[in-house]
Amino acid sequence: MILVLKPGTQGPELAEVLRELEKRGIQGHVLPGGTKPLVHLVSGPTRRARKLLKLEQVEALVPTSGPRVRLSGRRFYPYHFTNLAALCLVLTGVLVLLAGNFPPGLGDAIDPQHAPESLSYPWYVRAPLSFVALFPHSWAWLGWMCLYALGLAALLMPVLDRPGEKAASNWPRIVGTLVLLGWLYLTFGGAVR
């Protein structure tokens, strides 16, 4: 595989590319001559070199066999389309297997006078319902207000965490992780099951 660098890439910029290659365990050497600097990847996991397309210095990656991978990427059809079709086919197979082995059931007839002793809720609504259930019945509105506020904050995150700052802040990830952990706890260990 050959890594094509932008014209004029030399010195520290070239060294950075070589460092990135070394980090990925790929051995390569710079080919002499030509208008664009070329790095011949001779051994190691050369498929990992695709990630180097993100580097500014890299223009293209030319495999010794198969299609050329440009910075602009492979064409959707046929390359990604084939992958997508295969993925969808496998996914459909898995869903048919699930449908056959775990078919959705039909419960007992309705008795509007007597509620069942235990009522199970789908997994995806247990967390918000458990959260509201944490509040006493007369304070349930506060639980809903907290959920509204959380949803609104999530929607406004691109505004709250403004782009263009010198150092990107990490608080959304931390808050997001805490919310996710809380969500998982309430789903599997909350009052509503």
Partner: protein, 212 residues
């Protein structure tokens, strides 16, 4: 004149042959898998609607008919059920992916907002779908859920009253839940998906111009 050279087909063909930047590849594939599952939901939903009868008296029989007597009915209902769960998992994964990669900051801020709305819409679709079997569990689930929704401030009472269609859960409730599940929410989701596709195309165009 070849068909490929004419109007819309030409645009479609050039779109299909567009290069996908490596940075956008995972986003695109994930979005298209979700879109595929959405189409699967629509197709299986239409097939189920041929036999499903949203009336408390006949609903159980119609579901039994789908599961036992209709050819491949169990597969269609199973696919509809499990693909809904798959959509929820993938939409949740997409939102988490945007969060942890931090792409909501710039180019994909619209994906973050639309991703959250699609997730919310998918949750509502799945939940209303679970109620359509109208058995003992579904009846009491919607009764309790509407009581909870009623306690929500501002819109809670109104939403609960509209969905319930009166003071108590009844045939009207089932009819309204069916309408929301099969008519309202799929269209809302479709509009969100179209917006998402349009924003994604914009991102690709900007990236292409920046490179050139």
């Amino acid at each position: 004149m070849r068909a490929r050279d004419s109007g819309m087909l030409k645009t479609f063909w050039s779109l299909l042959r567009s290069p996908v930047p490596p940075t956008e590849r995972a986003d695109l594939l994930l979005a298209l898998v979700i879109l595929f599952l959405f189409f699967l939901q629509v197709a299986t939903g239409i097939l189920l609607a041929f036999f499903y009868q949203p009336s408390p008296v006949t609903v159980a029989d119609s579901v039994q008919l789908i599961m036992r007597d209709v050819d491949w009915g169990w597969v269609v209902r199973g696919l509809h059920h499990w693909s809904a769960h798959a959509i929820l998992v993938l939409c949740g994964f997409q939102v988490l992916r945007i969060l942890y990669l931090g792409t909501w900051r710039g180019r994909a801020s619209s994906s973050w907002n639309l991703g959250l709305l699609v997730l919310l819409c998918a949750i509502l679709l799945s939940y209303t779908g679970e109620l359509l079997v109208w058995d003992q569990s579904a009846f009491w689930r919607i009764t309790r859920a509407l009581e909870q929704v009623e306690s929500a401030p501002i819109v809670g009472t109104w939403v609960a009253h509209v969905l319930r269609g009166g003071e108590e859960v009844s045939a009207t409730t089932l009819s309204r839940v069916f309408s929301v599940h099969s008519l309202l929410l799929p269209w809302v989701l479709w509009v969100l998906v179209v917006f998402e596709g349009w924003f994604f195309a914009q991102r690709l165009r900007v990236a292409k111009e920046a490179r050139s």
